[in-house]
């Protein structure tokens, strides 16, 4: 098969697509484009959910490294020394201690059970982006006492009647309002609501934050213990490096050190594995659909052209040229379909980045990498070529007489 033969095969393919049935070309390209979109949409959405969950876990729960109490212990003790040690480590941006206490919130006639988290606002700002998610008022200051910030679901909406609420709330608390907080240990205090935030991460949005100083007043003593410490890594440092450093400097004596990856593999790892299985099934189904559709399209095309194929063979056109003619048609249709699929997918991704599917646990957008686009393009292209070449090969080998009689 020389260059001349390939050139003639390409010319025949191009002219057939240019001057043949336009609706057939458009329909085939559309089918391939939709198959590509189908192949990439579901896996990308699952990846988006996975990324969303992972990002929210990192941002609002565990950061890059989580130092938690050792097995059997309830708290990390000697917190000041532990924080000094962690903050002094290379690669550590900041460590932020967390201490939670159950409480009952009272506002007008509403009563609501909420977990109050004590934080050191300056440290927490460097570890978690909650301060950027304020929808009303402002974030806590380091020395604040008698002030609290609460999640939007807790604040509620004054325009929604209690019986119509999706989840129980305080019925429309606004910044500056006073709420009564009754802690589990019996300590009761009126707080001024300094800010209301909304992160989209349900566990945080259903909690409230007070300063470490305020929690010391609740406990009635210096608070030298924490439920856990979240540690943010400086850019360029790996979590594993910091974990190793922390363990080497003895942080492991006071608490258990885990990277975000360690925690993810335990918590959402199974979910992500399930997503991977669904993705694989979706991919296989899409590839089969594409292959079958293209096989049918090219088979019909070749069957309709049997007489012409016989004539081409009669005038001295080699069967390889005829086969590659249909092969090139499929390649061109495949490339156009894939380009259309990429455009549709990217448009969907752009739309969903602005309007993600939001649930209380996660928000779904399309997470697509260039490698995803490339991999799916190659898979679909190979499927298209096989689907096109098989009927083309069969018809190109038909006897001239039987083809011409068709």
């Amino acid at each position: 098969m020389g260059q001349k033969e390939l050139k003639v095969a390409f010319l025949l393919a191009l002219r057939s697509l240019q001057r043949g049935s336009r609706s057939s070309v458009i329909l085939t390209v559309l089918i391939i484009g939709m198959c590509f979109t189908n192949m990439i949409f579901l896996p990308s959405m699952f990846s988006g959910i996975g990324q969303s969950i992972t990002k929210q876990l990192v941002d609002y729960e565990v950061s890059n490294i989580l130092v938690s109490p050792k097995s059997g212990d309830q708290y990390i003790t000697d917190i000041d020394a532990t924080l000094d040690l962690i903050n002094g480590m290379p690669g550590v941006q900041r460590a932020s201690p967390h201490y939670s206490k159950g409480a009952t919130f009272k506002y007008r006639q509403r009563i609501l059970g909420v977990s109050v988290r004590a934080i050191s606002p300056m440290d927490e700002k460097e570890v978690s982006p909650v301060y950027t998610k304020m929808v009303a008022g402002s974030y806590l200051g380091e020395g604040d006492t008698g002030e609290i910030i609460i999640g939007k679901p807790i604040a509620g909406d004054a325009t929604v009647r209690q019986e119509d609420e999706f989840q129980a709330s305080l019925g429309g608390v606004r910044v500056g309002d006073s709420i009564t907080v009754e802690y589990g240990n019996g300590y009761t205090k009126d707080y001024r609501v300094k800010g209301i935030y909304s992160t989209g991460w349900s566990p945080v949005d259903n909690a409230a934050f007070v300063t470490w100083t305020d929690m010391e007043l609740v406990e009635g003593k210096t608070l030298d213990k924490a439920d856990y410490i979240t540690v943010r890594a400086k850019p360029g440092y790996t979590e594993q490096f910091i974990k190793n450093e922390l363990l080497a400097y003895g942080v492991g004596v006071n608490g258990q050190v885990q990277t975000m990856t360690d925690l993810l593999s335990k918590s959402v790892g199974k979910v992500l594995q399930s997503f991977a299985i669904i993705n694989a099934v979706s991919l296989v189904v899409s590839v089969i659909i594409t292959t079958v559709v293209l096989f049918i399209v090219i088979t019909i095309k070749t069957l309709n052209s049997r007489k012409q194929i016989g004539i081409l063979k009669a005038i001295g056109v080699d069967k390889e040229v005829i086969m590659h003619n249909y092969g090139f048609q499929v390649i061109i249709l495949g490339i156009l379909g894939i380009i259309l699929g990429i455009i549709i997918t990217l448009l969907l991704a752009a739309y969903m980045s602005v309007h993600p599917i939001v649930t209380p646990e996660w928000s779904a957008y399309l997470y697509i990498t260039p490698m995803d686009l490339l991999t799916n393009s190659v898979i679909l292209f190979c499927a298209a070529v096989i689907a096109g070449y098989v009927p083309a090969y069969q018809v190109s080998r038909e006897e001239i007489q039987s083809a011409m009689r068709a």
């Binding site: 020389g2 001349k4 033969e5 050139k7 003639v8 010319l11 025949l12 002219r15 057939s16 240019q18 001057r19 043949g20 007489k307 012409q308 004539i311 081409l312 063979k313 009669a314 005038i315 001295g316 056109v317 080699d318 069967k319 040229v321 006897e399 001239i400 007489q401 011409m404």
Partner: protein
């Protein structure tokens, strides 16, 4: 140029055997304009297909230019058709998606001994000869039947074949267009000393042939120079 010896073609339809060619022996000389005539089912198209390497005989031998074509591989047959033979079919058989120029150039484009410039020059030249140069960018569906058949003739002639086969080329044309096409065949035969083998069932076409063979039931019943044919 063409030597046919005891050529047989038998089609089997279930248990019935149909002898399309029944022990046919014939020689065709270079430069002849041979007409094959006879009623439907006489075997004239079958003979043309055997000579044109479009079908395989059941037995017998065909030698073209000293080469026994039964020994050719599939690829060699294709190349032989491309380099040595030209075809004009009853229904024009043009590629509908190619322009007149592209249709005519197609066989020349595949030849390894032609450059692109030569292909264009040859195609242009033959289109000028048949008087359709001004329609070269048109698609076949934009031409009349007569014009399409002339394009088909140009395609067959672009590679300057040793033998030109025509299978009832005027079957779909009116008398006027048939005459135009047959005049072209005659002109090509006379000016280029082109060997032409044409199947026809129209009696008035015989005026164009040098030699006519008449067939019936797969056998030659008469063979001779036009106007002086002898019974066999």
């Amino acid at each position: 140029m063409i030597e046919i010896t005891d050529l047989r073609k038998i089609y089997r339809m279930g248990t019935v055997e149909v002898k399309a060619l029944d022990g046919l022996t014939l020689n065709i000389e270079k430069g002849e304009f041979l007409g094959i005539m006879g009623p439907s089912g006489s075997g004239k198209s079958t003979l043309l297909h055997m000579l044109g390497l479009l079908d395989l005989p059941t037995s017998g031998k065909i030698v073209i230019d000293g080469m026994d074509i039964s020994r050719f591989t599939d690829y060699e047959k294709t190349m032989f058709r491309l380099y040595k033979l030209g075809y004009v079919f009853q229904d024009y058989a043009l590629v509908p998606d190619l322009t007149v120029m592209e249709n005519v150039s197609l066989p020349a484009m595949l030849r390894k001994d032609r450059t692109e410039e030569q292909t264009i020059k040859d195609s242009f030249g033959i289109l000028q000869k048949i008087g359709l140069c001004d329609r070269r960018e048109h698609l076949p569906r934009e031409l009349s039947g007569g014009q399409q058949q002339r394009v088909s003739l140009a395609r067959a002639m672009v590679n300057k074949p040793d033998i030109l086969f025509a299978d009832e080329p005027c079957a779909n044309l009116d008398t006027e267009n048939s005459r135009v096409v047959l005049d072209l065949f005659r002109e090509i035969n006379e000016s280029m000393h082109q060997t032409i083998v044409m199947v026809s069932h129209e009696d008035w076409h015989k005026d164009y042939f040098h030699r006519i063979i008449r067939m019936r039931d797969g056998k030659i019943i008469s063979d001779g120079i036009n106007g002086a044919s002898k019974n066999t």
